[in-house]
């Protein structure tokens, strides 16, 4: 995960935690919390992206996974499939946040 992505996601997660008004936790716990949330969020984003794949692109995607393609190749394939990753990511983040905060 790049620094930019890391920073933005962490800021998003931290902001979410701030809104959650969690009781004071020590730094180590907080870091772990952020990490867990980040992983959960990433899982959901991945799920949403896969769901957004057109049916005729599923097989190709499977093949890429089978042949253990690298990140760039996979991401390029996603983009070429017409999946609006940014919109999906944004929607997933907002939905994730809303659910997490019990909104």
């Amino acid at each position: 995960m790049s620094m930019e992505q890391n920073d933005a996601l962490e800021e998003f997660i931290n902001d979410m935690l701030a809104q959650k008004k969690l009781p004071g936790v020590d730094e180590q716990v907080h870091t772990q919390l952020v990490s867990d949330l980040k992983n959960r969020l990433m899982d959901q984003i991945d799920r949403a992206v896969v769901e957004g794949l057109p049916s005729d692109r599923i097989d190709g995607f499977n093949e890429l996974l089978d042949k253990e393609a690298d990140d760039q190749e996979i991401q390029r394939y996603i983009v070429e499939s017409g999946v609006d990753s940014r919109r999906i990511s944004l929607e997933t983040m907002l939905r994730f946040r809303a659910l997490y905060l019990g909104e």
Binding site: E4, Q19, D46, D70
Partner: protein, 1543 residues
């Protein structure tokens, strides 16, 4: 009934057999025809019953075929309940179809499925011969019963003990049974399995028998070929778990009351839907894994599930490529003999045969060990994930063992065995999206891929998300925007969720429909159905293929070839598109029959290709040319050229997709709008609520309620912010000038300005000034300033114009200058005015210095200091009055003591500078000791002079004075002593301070600020939308829905009326329609009203009008009818004025029972048990017979009864009338007899002159054996109290003292009564429901124990001229007339507790004859027989069933299953039926736990309770003095209809 039928081979068995047959090689013509015939039967969607009935060989029926024997017929006569059973004949037939035929010997078909350990086993052995028929072997009845029990579940005809055995066997026992069945231990014959259907005639049977002798085909000696299959169903298991989860959730969302459904839908169906789906899926997966059965959630029908597994195995064993759908992801691979797996498996089999592996359990263990080892070695691609896997290893092992034991070489057997692995896709094709996604995500997680979304994209999305979420907090300026955020979020979330859900629902609906389920109805399903791709039933396709290819002249003309080609192409296209696109273009009848029907279709396709191949060249030339089909083409190649079907399908797909898009858009838009509103309202509402609890949070509502002031600087809700915009507008808001100022001098002028400290003043070169803010920005500039420091008016105006407040604070200032100069004494005194005291001397204390010298204190002032020099220290003037005496100062009566004055400070030295200024003196203090010092700097000092050491006084007077008050203008003094000075001082050098006054300009300049004020924080609380949405309605198992075209109104008895018939009857005369309905009053009560809204009421005027109208109509239509009825009326005599009930009884051949009937009927009682007023009712009998028929003795019996009654009642005549009528043949029906008698009653009623109460008609039969004493009272009471009721029906009893002695009879009658009571609960009574049973789910009218109002009778046009069914028609017509024209209103026919009994003879005969009780009612030899024969004799004919015994237990088992069938036919779901039948069974004497359910079958497992209860019932009945005539065997409590929940 001595034959105990057993189950025939299943359809699946037949299919498997045919598969083997087809695999046997190129068929010769004869075999082909036979195959065609057999396949045609199977694939043509023909039920097993049809197979049985159509089977020309009789093979299926066995040697002692009794296929037509019904064990569960329902029966009887003119009684309504008997006819109700007739209504169930379709059900009985349906059950019969699946039930039993009797056969002693069956061809062995496919071995049973058993469940061993965790893997279901399917044993199947295929025989292959080059050109001969397949050779079946034989199994015993015992073997087959066990097989049937396992595969089909126990059937009605099975031996009860064996049923129990089959049901109660443990897995281990079953496994052993399977091995036994497949192995040779059960018989001496080696097990050579083949298709059961291959031997269709006696020759074939014999041939089969012969071959079975040595296990080889007699003609070629080729040993059977074994096929061992390992099929992975992991993917199906995954899909099945998801489907089960969806189905469970859908069911939950559709259950419960409206409120609960709403809450559930909001939570489970919306917010937490995914959570529950995953939870249920997990639970479903666990069950699937533990059962190793992918259909475990679909149906409780174990046999059905076993068949589905068998079908899967069979499909993979097929040699046809068509059977494995690679497009759908299926695969099938042959395992090489020399592969590790191949060697391993064959080695296991070898060990098993040779005893190295002792038993099936060990073999199973070894197999699992082998598979585990292969998995470790990475061979999972071959075997699949193995989550759920089915195989037929144990069955094959048993077969191998048997073959070796019968002389075959193990090496030969194993060499001839093929091993396949494969992966199945057993479900329909509509893809389970989540399963697919889950699978890919699992794969993704296993991979090294970090994220599917690039870091930049993710970063941008996160930043945008952050901005979006933070936008919810801020100032009021954004409040309006903030306010919209929850709504917008809600709309977005709602839209996203709905978009997803609606797609899921389409998938779910398509899948369920393809699985043969039927929607219960409802708008959601209807909408989804409009977007569902058109499907064609697999069975229909198979049938169509069969029809085209099975015809005798099939493919004999180019047109036929073209039709066959196009049909095959269509089928191929549908299958290909379904498989490739994961959609369903083919449907199936049931979920557990998918595999079976799919295989049948695959075989039909394959067969069609085989047959079509040589005829491709016979296609019409032009057609062939147009499509480009060459004679040398393969069929597969040729069918691909037929594209018009693709166009058709694609057009359908496109239009349905478009319809779906439209539906989705509409749903999504609605969800978005709803989401917006609900989120908005929730957000605002929640905020206001939170504000109450949070002191630092101001809410509008809070402030309105508490009238409190907003907290300073605290957060506030959106509404509060919007309501107080002035406080909260951020940005450049003008605020008041600060109160602190900085002073600036106006250069070169005496003026200055005080400028607000938030600003500064600057002076320009031209002398003008300007003001700037702290940032240096000019507020105003170039303001002129006058030379004197004042601001000119222009400047003031300019400042004012800029909202700068100017306050003129200019003032006059006094300036002092000090100069020293010589001034005259009086001026000196003026200059030191402040040091002088203006005095007025009031008196002088006497000073008498004249002779004689008599001085008091008047000379008491002297120089002080040394030597009275008057010079003190430092040269100060010192004086003293110490020489004065206390009493030396007086004047007249005034007196003072200088010391006291001095002590009080009231004694002074007043120094007058000159005589001219002696009123203004310099006042010096006199000390208490009398000393006076004149300080040097005192102005008074100027008037003393030190002349060489002696002080002199040059002023005018130095007086010692007593202060005597101050008037404000002067100080009064009284001199005590005076030193008269030289008065020589004319001028004095004096230092003078001179004052000059000037004006100093000063302005306060107050400049307001335009600072950006941080407004009070306005917060928004985004809330998730609450979008109430209805989920898909439930689906019902296909078998619960009436077959297409079957009108639920139709039943067999009485002429087969249909709902459509009834509609037409109403439409034929619209004036008939007299709709009544219930409306809710303001107090929430339901009230019956007429269609025009007027309340329903019953009155004599309406009745008489209706009767008159009806009769006139009858008489007009048939003029001679008037006289006919009048004659009958005259014969009966006039009706009593207060008669309320006319009891009308047709009597034909009933002379034996009339006395009993009349004597009971006349003994009517009121509700208190007292004799009923005989004037309230009359009994009319029409003794009728067909013209030419000899009369019986009925008239004589009646006359005799009347005479005896008169004699025994003091001459009182009973209110019994009769008429003896002979009908012509065409009208000699019970319907017509009732009609003329009733019409005559109406005419007689109209002839009454003083009728004041409505008239009711009680319809009875003449064969009643026990008449309730409250028939009349109950009827009058019920109808009088319920004016909306048109008719009532009582309970039809059947002489319990007779029927109690026969277990079968008493249980059946009892069960029927209880069943009807249950089925007539209101919740089942919706005639608009597809599962409605027109007979059971309503209160019917009958020929007896039925009452109705005379008005209702006239309203519907009276009785019909029917031989049977006229009684039912009364109720049907009433319901239709009271309905809306389309559906009946079932609520105007009620019940009464009247229990009247009739002879059970028809029901006894029903058991004797095994036919419907009312079959042939009123005619035929049986009719006369049962009338003539004593009941005891009739009962003796069914004595086989007097008690439940080992010999007849199967019949009772079938009887209990029949009860279940009734309930299934009258309830919408299987669960409802089970709840219903539980009560029926309990009332019949069973207890829960005495029986189990298996799908649509009920299986009795314990007979102890029912036997005990039946005996106890008989004993109690016999012992009781007044036995309870209700049929209560096992104890039964009437269900509380308000609380009974059977969902």
């Amino acid at each position: 009934m001595s034959e105990q039928p057993i189950s025939p081979p299943t359809q699946q068995d037949v299919l498997a057999a045919l598969t083997a047959e087809l695999e046997a090689g190129p068929p010769d013509d004869e075999r082909r025809r036979r195959i065609q015939r057999e396949i045609g039967i199977i694939v043509g969607n023909t039920r097993l019953s049809e197979i049985v009935s159509n089977d020309p060989t009789g093979v299926w029926a066995g040697e002692e075929d009794d296929a037509n024997e019904h064990q569960t017929s329902n029966a009887d006569s003119s009684s309504a309940d008997q006819r109700a059973q007739d209504a169930h004949i379709p059900m009985a037939e349906r059950r019969q179809a699946a039930a039993p035929v009797t056969s002693r010997r069956y061809r062995r078909a496919t071995a049973p499925i058993t469940t061993i350990g965790t893997t279901p086993q399917v044993a199947r052995v295929e025989t292959r011969s080059q050109d001969g028929p397949q050779i079946p072997d034989e199994i015993s009845d015992d073997e087959l019963r066990i097989v049937a029990a396992q595969v089909n579940g126990p059937t009605q005809g099975e031996q009860p003990q064996e049923q129990q055995i089959a049901e109660e066997l443990s897995d281990d026992e079953l496994r052993i049974s399977a091995a036994q069945v497949n192995g040779p231990t059960q018989g001496t014959q080696p097990l050579v399995h083949e298709a059961a259907g291959s031997a269709r005639d006696e020759d074939s049977a014999e041939e089969a028998s012969d071959v079975a002798e040595d296990g080889t085909d007699e003609e070629d000696g080729v040993p059977p070929r074994l096929i061992l299959s390992f099929i992975d169903q992991s993917q199906d298991a995954e899909d099945a778990a998801r489907l089960a989860a969806e189905a469970r959730l859908t069911g939950e969302l559709n259950s419960g009351g409206r409120f609960r459904r709403m809450i559930r839908n909001a939570w489970k169906g919306s917010i937490a839907r995914e959570f529950y789906i995953l939870k249920y899926k997990r639970q479903a997966s666990e069950q699937i894994l533990s059962s190793q059965d992918i259909h475990v959630h679909e149906t409780a029908d174990r046999a059905g599930r076993a068949n589905a597994q068998l079908a899967t195995i069979a499909r993979f064993e097929s040699v046809y490529d068509e059977a494995v759908h690679t497009d759908a992801g299926e695969r099938k691979e042959m395992i090489a003999d020399d592969s590790e797996f191949g060697r391993g498996i064959k080695d296991l089999l070898r060990q098993y045969v040779e005893g190295g592996i002792a038993n099936p359990e060990a073999l199973e263990e070894e197999k699992n060990r082998l598979l585990s080892r292969l998995a470790e070695n990475g061979d999972m691609d071959l075997l699949g994930a193995g989550t759920v896997r089915i195989d037929n290893l144990l069955g094959i092992a048993a077969s191998v063992k048997g073959m070796v034991e019968h002389g075959q070489s193990i090496d030969d057997v194993l060499a001839g065995m093929s091993i396949y692995t494969g992966e199945a896709r057993s479900n329909v094709r509509t893809e389970v999206d989540y399963g697919r996604v889950d699978r890919m995500l699992e794969k993704l997680q296993r991979s090294k891929v970090g994220s599917l979304v690039g870091p930049e994209t993710l970063g941008l999305a996160a930043a945008a998300a952050l901005i979006a979420t933070r936008a919810g907090r801020g100032s009021l300026l954004r409040a309006s925007g903030v306010m919209l955020i929850p709504g917008v979020n809600g709309a977005v979330f709602g839209a996203i969720r709905e978009n997803k859900r609606v797609k899921e629902e389409r998938t779910q609906h398509s899948r369920e429909m393809a699985q043969g389920k039927v929607a219960e109805g409802g708008r959601r399903r209807e909408q989804m159905d409009q977007t569902r791709y058109e499907t064609v039933a697999a069975a229909d396709l198979s049938g169509s293929l069969g029809q085209l290819f099975d015809a005798e002249d099939a493919l004999s003309t180019p047109e036929q070839v073209q039709a066959a080609y196009e049909l095959l192409s269509s089928v191929e296209a549908r299958i290909r598109l379904s498989d490739q696109n994961s959609i369903d273009l083919i449907s199936y009848s049931e979920v557990t029959r998918i595999e079976e029907e799919r295989l049948a279709l695959d075989i039909a396709r394959a067969r069609a290709k085989v047959m079509l191949q040589p005829h491709l060249g016979n296609l019409p030339d032009e057609y062939r040319s147009r499509l480009g089909i060459e004679s040398s083409d393969t069929v597969d190649g040729a069918v691909g050229r037929y594209t018009s079907i693709l166009d058709t399908i694609n057009a359908d797909v496109s239009s349905k997709d478009a319809a779906f898009s439209k539906l989705k858009r509409r749903r999504v838009a609605t969800a978005a709008a709803t989401g917006f509103v609900t989120s908005e309202l929730l957000s605002l509402g929640t905020q206001e609520g939170v504000a109450f609890a949070d002191s630092s949070y101001d809410g509008l509502l809070e402030n309105m309620v508490t009238d409190g002031d907003p907290s300073e600087g605290g957060r506030q809700t959106v509404l509060q912010g919007l309501a107080n915009p002035g406080e909260n507008v951020p940005g450049e808001r003008v605020v008041a000038p600060v109160s602190t100022h900085e002073n600036y001098t106006l250069a070169d002028t005496p003026g200055s300005v005080d400028v607000s400290s938030t600003h500064s003043m600057s002076v320009n070169e031209d002398g003008t000034v300007g003001f700037r803010d702290t940032q240096g920005a000019v507020v105003i500039d170039n303001l002129a300033v006058n030379d004197d420091g004042t601001l000119p008016q222009t400047t003031l105006d300019a400042l004012n114009a800029n909202d700068i407040n100017v306050i003129d604070k200019g003032s006059f200032v006094t300036d002092e200058t000090t100069t020293t100069r010589t001034v005259p004494t009086n001026e000196f005194v003026d200059n030191h005015k402040a040091d002088t005291t203006h005095i007025r001397r009031e008196l002088w204390y006497d000073n008498d210095t004249a002779a004689p010298r008599f001085e008091k204190n008047e000379l008491g002032l002297s120089w002080g200091g040394p030597d009275n020099s008057g010079v003190g220290d430092d040269g100060v003037v010192v004086m003293s009055v110490a020489s004065m005496t206390e009493d030396g100062s007086y004047h007249g009566l005034d007196y003072t003591n200088w010391q006291q004055d001095a002590s009080r400070g009231e004694l002074k030295l007043a120094v007058s500078a000159s005589k001219d200024t002696q009123s203004d003196v310099f006042m010096l203090s006199v000390r208490p000791d009398g000393t006076i010092e004149v300080p040097k700097d005192s102005p008074a000092a100027h008037f003393f002079e030190n002349n060489d050491g002696q002080m002199t006084f040059n002023g005018a007077y130095a007086e010692v004075v007593e202060l005597n008050g101050d008037t404000g203008e002067h100080t009064s003094v009284r001199p005590l002593a005076t030193l008269v000075g030289e008065n020589s001082v004319d001028t004095i050098e004096d230092t003078v301070v001179e004052q000059t006054t000037v004006f100093v300009p000063n302005y306060e300049i107050n400049i307001p600020t335009t600072e950006i004020v941080a407004a009070r924080e306005v917060e928004s609380i985004p809330m998730p939308p609450i979008i109430p949405r209805r989920s898909l309605e439930r689906v019902l198992p296909a078998q619960k829905i009436s077959p297409a075209g079957l009108d639920p109104f139709t039943y067999a008895y009485g002429g087969g009326r249909s709902l459509e018939d009834m509609r037409k009857w109403v439409v034929a005369d619209p004036s008939r329609l007299r709709t009544r309905r219930q409306v809710e009053t303001e107090d929430g009560q339901l009230r019956w009203v007429e269609n025009d809204g007027n309340p329903v009421e019953r009155n004599v005027t309406n009745e008489r009008n209706m009767l008159n109208s009806y009769l006139e109509g009858q008489f007009t239509a048939e003029p001679q009818y008037r006289q006919y009825i009048q004659n009958i009326a005259d014969a009966l005599g006039p009706m009593g004025q207060k008669c309320r009930v006319s009891v009308n009884i047709p009597a034909w051949m009933e002379e034996k029972n009339l006395r009993n009937l009349l004597s009971q009927y006349l003994d009517q009682r009121d509700k208190d048990g007292n004799p009923l007023d005989p004037g309230l009712f009359e009994v009319n009998i029409i003794v009728n017979r067909k013209e030419g028929t000899a009369p019986d003795g009925s008239v004589g019996v009646i006359n005799q009864f009347i005479d005896q009654y008169v004699a025994s009642h003091n001459g009182q005549r009973p209110n019994v009338r009769f008429v003896d009528v002979e009908f012509k043949e065409e009208i000699a029906t019970v319907g017509y007899a009732r009609k003329v008698l009733t019409d005559a009653a109406l005419l007689r009623s109209l002839s009454r002159t003083d009728q004041d109460q409505p008239l009711y008609i009680e319809s009875e039969d003449a064969d009643l054996t026990n008449v309730d004493k409250r028939v009349i009272a109950n009827l009058i009471s019920k109808l009088d109290r319920n004016p909306h009721l048109d008719a009532v029906h009582g309970i039809e009893g059947r002489m319990p003292e007779v029927i109690k002695d026969n277990d079968l009879l008493v249980m059946r009658r009892n069960a029927w009564e209880v069943f009807l009571l249950m089925a007539r609960q209101k919740k089942f009574r919706n005639p608009n429901s597809g599962s409605w049973n027109a007979f059971a789910n309503r209160t019917i009218t009958g020929g007896w124990n039925t009452g109705y109002s005379a008005e209702a009778y006239a309203m519907i046009g009276g009785y019909e001229n029917l031989r049977a069914g006229e009684d039912l028609t009364i109720g049907e017509r009433i319901s239709m007339v009271r309905g809306d024209g389309n559906y009946p209103n079932l609520e105007t026919i009620g019940t009464v507790p009247t229990r009247t009994e009739s002879s059970p003879r028809r029901f006894i005969n029903e058991i004797i004859r095994n036919k419907s009780a009312y079959d042939g009612f009123g005619e035929g030899p049986d009719e006369q027989r049962i009338r003539d024969m004593p009941l005891t004799d009739l009962m003796s004919e069914i004595s086989d069933f007097a008690r439940i015994s080992d010999d007849n237990r199967a019949t009772f088992a079938g009887e209990a299953d029949m009860f279940y069938g009734w309930c299934l036919s009258a309830s919408p779901t299987r669960q409802d039926a089970r709840e219903m039948v539980k009560r029926v069974m309990r009332s019949a004497g069973y207890r829960e736990g005495d029986y189990t359910f298996s799908g649509d079958k009920l299986i009795v497992t314990n007979w102890d309770n029912v036997t005990t209860n039946l005996n106890a019932y008989r004993t109690q009945f016999d012992r009781a003095q007044r036995p309870n005539r209700k049929l209560i065997i096992g104890g039964w409590k009437r269900p509380d209809l308000r609380t009974t929940v059977m969902t």
